[in-house]
Symmetry: C2
Subunit: 214 residues, 2 copies
């Protein structure tokens, strides 16, 4: 199993702040995400700008694509994204349209798991050739105090066993990493925890834990 990567989610409402954070963290993160908030605030200029200044990082465009898949996927990949998020709630035809553009332009699709998705849905994604999913503790659920549960972990295991690499997000801290042992974890995603003054130490602590379990 390959070692999980560390991903920063840039979710500021202006590009200047995002650029500044990205410059501060680039030495200790593998993946830079243009979060939904940043993408809606500044448009694809945000992806183009971060692509230009971080040519060797994986860039994610977190559109949570729900419809209009072909056009949104082309926009994101042509702006320089490597990976694009697509909502689990999207019609399978939308997911297929995104996958087709990803294949054409050399990108990857990540299914972002929101809503009442089923195992049949997950199998349909795998059947389309999708390789990644994102297991998300909702920011708002997190704010509401809902923590990682056995049900979360079990669902991640099932996805992993279906062959999906799972990125994991929602209040990730080093002391939780052991919970995900045995799962094909693609990235651990954090925002403020990596952006603040102790971000480098947090990233090092995450890598130490990752190295124990993968």
């Amino acid at each position: 199993m390959t070692k999980p990567l560390i991903q920063i989610a840039l979710d500021s409402t202006d590009l200047d702040t995002a650029v500044s954070v990205a410059n501060n963290v680039e030495s200790f993160v593998d993946v830079i995400e243009v979060g939904t908030i940043l993408a809606f605030a500044e448009g694809m200029k945000a992806v183009r700008t971060l692509r230009a200044s971080h040519p060797d990082h994986i860039i994610v465009c977190d559109m949570k694509t729900t419809d209009g898949g072909a056009i949104l996927a082309r926009m994101a990949f042509e702006a320089g994204a490597n990976w694009l998020t697509v909502s689990a709630a999207a019609h399978i035809a939308t997911i297929e349209a995104c996958k087709k553009i990803a294949d054409e332009l050399g990108g990857e699709i990540q299914i972002e798991l929101y809503g009442n998705w089923t195992l049949e849905d997950a199998q349909a994604w795998v059947d389309l050739g999708i390789k990644q999913a994102i297991y998300h503790r909702s920011r708002d659920a997190e704010l509401a105090g809902v923590s990682w549960t056995d049900s979360d972990i079990n669902r991640m295991r099932v996805l992993s066993e279906l062959g999906l690499e799972v990125s994991i997000t929602g209040g990730i801290v080093p002391q939780d990493i052991h919970l995900f042992e045995g799962i094909k974890a693609k990235t651990f995603i954090a925002g403020r925890a990596l952006a603040n003054d102790t971000g480098k130490e947090t990233a090092e602590a995450l890598r130490t834990e990752i190295n124990k379990y993968w």
Copy 2:
């Protein structure tokens, strides 16, 4: 029952095109939507620009909000949107966060019906005070040739009976309007059909049909 409005969805990938279309159609549409594609292409500048040039129209920001509800809702409403779309797949805490900001800033939330939503979900939205939903024939489903079905119509009726005003979209043509008789239809949404050379005639034909059934 109030008469359904006519809404244009602006889904170009650049603001200049959207501005030009909006100027062409403003005399015969009630609601101008900054579509997801336009919003991701140009950011909130698109909402600000259209708000400034169409001060008397209802402006929708079609974010299909799935997480980070408070921040996205504030961005959209402060940019000048009257209505904000929120995905049915969002956690109820996200929908509640959006509703709270809408109440604070004088906006409205529209639940955009994607994914495996249930009647229990719909009741929970109504319980939060949500007044609008959008019934969407997926653009990609439409491209795949999936038409309006009895199941579509029945689900709209159920939502309407729960008290939700339903906006209806996905290849809307005047000859289909009769299908939705008896439903609390808030708007009929179209894009290219209103933007092209015969857009004004299409809008007139839609209003003629609307006047027959509401």
